[in-house]
């Protein structure tokens, strides 16, 4: 069941590991144990039936421009909101599964040479749930809403910095969104409609723009006449295969989606739309969800979840139950950053890196079903991932090596360290206690500073003058590219201001690294760019700008009445609702 600290944290957790694409390495294969991701495949399906999604965290928003949680982005894409381009259904391979395919657009977009301008042409045929066609204006209106940062909150608003709209004195775009219409001219120049063709203009090259379109919902169309601002946060106006039923969405208990009669299956090939209805039951404790899925009674036979089995429940996942389980690496990575304002001695940082006991940390989290030690801040599922050679063995915990480095550092021992982390589940607390034990053995004196991630945690770590020495961070890339990992976390120019260090919690600032980032970001050849990113990662590791911890693993369970249960790479490893079906159509 879980302490509700988890729930206090659940909301905030989405802030940290907000979203990611990236498919996930299939492991397993040795015959025993739960299935791996790549063991899953799509088979023939029968239409019909009702499926149930049991969830703990409430859905923050059904407004596409305000959505930023991986699960919700994927679900929206498969159920109700189509995009210009999309990731393919039912594919578990990381590369193929995370390569955009056309959806509303006729192709995957045309760019100019330096990738500062992208154009897409709309297909003929896609309709809204009231039968009106999806137009270029709808697309343009959708992204314009993001500029209304006083109303459209909670989404990936940073994309407004990419579009070529001039800035005002405060450094904010002069365009203030469609509601007040302030600066509309500037926006109309950045995004233009020419018949069925929409063109986006950016300030800087954006080579992987189609990935962002497929991964996020920010560029999805939105109908101006359906927009009631904040009032629309939980309403759905669909152009996908399903639509919200007449009862609507209840913010605390969920809702039911039924088939959208205006959706045309022949034209949309990326959504099988097998089941007739899907009901979201939200706000349930994780343990209860898993207990219900284990019990597999009544409607729960047709249920699935995005919550992983908790370590306490592992012993129950055996036999028939195990056959309904799948366990694989998620797109979410966790790491530690040393505070460069305080830990100025490289040897001390190196000692910390050496002493970081990933094996104990992973063990406390529940072992190899819960998490896997990692050797880079880049998630292994992200195209371009390379294990970073600077961090030694995966299990870590080199006490002797750390002791030697600390000796060399010339600091007085034990060296005091304040380790700040967001309180979460009981397992999280245990994991940090495990890290502390090895650090202390190596000559540090660690004080654990667990803070509530719904506020105090960020207050503490984002203050430039923070007294935290070591800070936990978690990250999932916004779209499958290293460019959404390293720059947002270590580019001091976008992060560090007088008041805050943004997401550069360690206050890391290196002109060298910044220059290398610029070079990699401008490279339009993806393979070449990945090599350059890998070099940047090495530079960071040499400075010990971060210490990798682990990759969170998903351990999902679903009811026995479901078929074609696939955790696609394109749906962030969550259940791909584009292929999911009910055994015999529920008959």
């Amino acid at each position: 069941m879980g302490t509700n600290r988890k729930r206090l944290v659940a909301a905030a957790a989405s802030m940290v590991v907000a979203v990611s694409l990236a498919g996930c390495g299939g492991d397993s294969g040795d015959g025993s144990g739960p299935k791996g991701q790549t063991d899953q495949e799509v088979t023939e399906a029968t239409k019909g039936g009702a499926v149930f999604s049991l969830e703990t965290a409430v859905t923050q928003a059904w407004d596409p421009q305000r959505t930023y949680t991986g699960r919700d982005l994927s679900n929206q894409s498969r159920l109700v909101y189509r995009s210009l381009v999309d990731f393919p259904k039912g594919v578990t391979d990381n590369i193929e599964g995370q390569t955009p395919i056309p959806d509303l657009a006729t192709d995957t977009g045309q760019s100019n040479e330096d990738a500062t301008e992208w154009s897409f042409t709309l297909k003929d045929g896609p309709k809204w749930q009231d039968g009106k066609p999806v137009t270029c204006e709808d697309l343009k209106y959708g992204v314009s809403r993001t500029f209304a940062t006083d109303v459209i909150t909670g989404g990936p608003n940073y994309i407004i910095g990419y579009l070529d709209v001039p800035q005002d004195a405060d450094g904010q775009p002069v365009y203030k969104g469609p509601y007040t219409g302030e600066g509309q001219d500037a926006f109309d120049q950045a995004v233009t409609c020419d018949g069925n063709t929409i063109t986006y203009r950016f300030k800087k090259p954006w080579p992987d723009f189609p990935y962002a379109v497929a991964a996020l919902r920010s560029f999805d169309p939105y109908r101006a006449d359906q927009d009631k601002g904040d009032k629309s946060k939980l309403s759905v106006f669909s152009n996908g295969p399903y639509m919200l039923d007449e009862k609507g969405w209840n913010e605390d208990s969920g809702g039911t989606f039924v088939r959208n009669p205006e959706w045309d299956a022949s034209e949309d090939t990326n959504r099988d739309a097998n089941f007739d209805t899907i009901t979201f039951e939200i706000g349930i404790e994780t343990e209860v969800i898993i207990d219900r899925l284990i019990a597999d009674e009544g409607n729960d036979k047709f249920a699935f979840t995005s919550r992983s089995v908790t370590p306490a429940q592992y012993p129950q996942i055996t036999g028939d139950v195990e056959a309904r389980a799948v366990n694989f690496e998620s797109p979410f990575s966790n790491y530690l950053v040393p505070n460069f304002n305080r830990l100025t001695n490289l040897k001390v940082r190196q000692a910390l890196a050496a002493a970081t006991n990933r094996a104990a940390y992973v063990g406390a989290l529940g072992g190899d079903k819960a998490s896997a030690p990692s050797l880079s801040i880049v998630n292994p599922s992200t195209p371009g991932y390379v294990a970073n050679p600077n961090f030694g063995k995966a299990e870590g915990g080199d006490v002797e090596g750390a002791k030697a480095l600390l000796e060399e550092s010339g600091e007085t021992l034990p060296y005091p360290i304040k380790l700040t982390y967001p309180i979460g589940s009981d397992a999280t607390d245990k994991a940090f206690a495990a890290l502390k034990a090895t650090y202390d053995e190596a000559g540090f004196d660690v004080t654990l500073d667990g803070l509530d991630p719904s506020g105090p945690y960020y207050e503490q770590i984002q203050k430039p003058g923070s007294d935290s020495d070591l800070i936990w961070g978690g990250w999932g890339s916004d779209w499958p590219s290293v460019s959404t990992v390293i720059p947002p976390l270590f580019d001091s120019r976008v992060n560090i201001t007088k008041a805050s260090n943004g997401q550069d919690y360690g206050n890391y600032a290196s002109d060298e690294v910044n220059a290398a980032i610029d070079a990699a970001a401008a490279e339009t050849d993806i393979d070449k760019a990945n090599e350059m990113w890998s070099e940047v990662d090495n530079m960071l590791a040499e400075d010990v700008a971060y210490i990798p911890l682990d990759t969170t693993k998903f351990y999902f369970l679903h009811g026995s009445g479901l078929e074609n249960y696939v955790n696609s790479a394109g749906t962030n490893g969550y259940t791909d609702l584009g292929v999911l079906s009910v055994v015999d159509g529920g008959k």
Binding site: M1, V151, N157, Y179, T180, G229, D230, G283, V288, S454
Partner: protein, 337 residues
């Protein structure tokens, strides 16, 4: 009695005004950043600032309170930004008189949210109330009548046991074993009474028992003490001296006297619960006002927190008045003035 009621109501209103000021200062004047939740993940400091302004958290507390008070008296429109309201009239949310504010976490007026959730909390409170009163009073009387005997010891002992284990633990035990593992009852789930009374009852049974147990424990002990105390009163001796049967002495004379404090206390306890039982609702995922308030706390949803605090306070204040009036009805000696 009328004048008394008016006087009590006026002092109750004054108390609520004071409470609203205190609550505002406790929450709004604090150093926390309520806008962070609304701003969302990967929020830059500038966006945080924009959000703060949009939510009106940048204004002095007293100004925010003034808006709240004005909204309560005269109604209010959201969003707060007048320019935006004018530019985008379709976004305007009317919050009529009695307005408790607008929850940015839920994007709904606080009043709407409370109105939606209240039936759930009220159902839970009332069904628990029925169980604990029936069980508590019956068992309390039984224990008193068999004072010192085995049955008395068993009742008192068990009630102490029910009281000693934390509510959430008992709730989880019931949920995990009785409902999920053994499947003796359906998974607790709220259904509207008007939709299906049977489902309403069966969905409520475990949470209601959980909530009732701890109260029942208290009421058993209280009833037992009241009965014993009453049975030692002179007028009970008089009743016996008249030659009344034991049944009449206990069933009429004793119970009539015990009724008075029980009505008072249970009225206040019920009022305290109408506004939601945070732990029970959380354990059983009942989306009543209790869980709503818990969610509000998790999200730093200040208008929602303040609204619920004031609503619950008004329940308590009203209950106090009602109980005092009721007291005057059931106890002929009491005269209000």
């Amino acid at each position: 009695m009328f004048a008394y009621t008016i006087r009590r109501v006026i002092s109750g209103i004054l108390l609520l005004v004071v409470m609203s000021v205190v609550t505002f200062y406790l929450f709004y004047a604090s150093s926390s950043t309520p806008e962070r939740f609304a701003c969302g993940p990967k929020c830059t400091p500038t966006q945080l600032d924009t959000t703060k302004r949009a939510l009106g958290y940048d204004e002095p507390t007293i100004v925010q309170w003034g808006k709240f008070a004005k909204g309560f008296v005269a109604g209010r429109e959201f969003p707060d930004d007048e320019k935006l309201r004018k530019a985008a009239p379709e976004q305007v949310v009317e919050c009529p008189r009695g307005c408790l504010g607008y929850s940015y976490g839920y994007s709904k007026p606080v009043n709407t949210l409370i109105k939606d959730k209240l039936p759930i909390s009220v159902s839970l409170a009332i069904s628990a109330f029925v169980i604990w009163i029936a069980g508590g009073v019956l068992l309390g009387i039984t224990a008193a009548l068999f004072k010192g005997r085995l049955i008395d010891k068993a009742i008192v002992g068990l009630s102490l046991l029910a009281f000693a284990f934390p509510t959430f633990f008992i709730g989880l035990l019931l949920l995990k074993f009785v409902a999920i593992r053994w499947g003796i009852v359906e998974l607790p789930k709220y259904s509207d009474f008007t939709d299906n009374p049977f489902l309403w009852v069966s969905g409520l049974i475990l949470p209601a028992i959980t909530l009732a147990l701890v109260y029942m424990a208290g009421y058993i002990r209280m009833t037992r003490a009241f009965v014993l105390e009453t049975m030692s009163e002179d007028y009970i001796r008089t009743a016996r001296a008249k030659g009344l049967t034991r049944r009449v002495v206990i069933g009429k004379h004793t119970l009539r006297a015990v009724l008075t404090p029980l009505v008072t206390l249970s009225g206040l306890d019920l009022a305290g619960l109408l506004g939601g039982a945070i732990i029970t609702e959380t354990v059983f995922n009942f989306n009543g006002v209790g869980k709503l308030s818990f969610t509000a706390v998790q999200r730093y949803d200040l208008p929602l927190i303040v609204g619920i605090v004031l609503l619950l306070a008004s329940f308590v204040i009203v209950a106090n008045i009602v109980v005092d009036l009721l007291y005057a009805v059931i106890d002929p000696r009491v005269r209000l003035g």
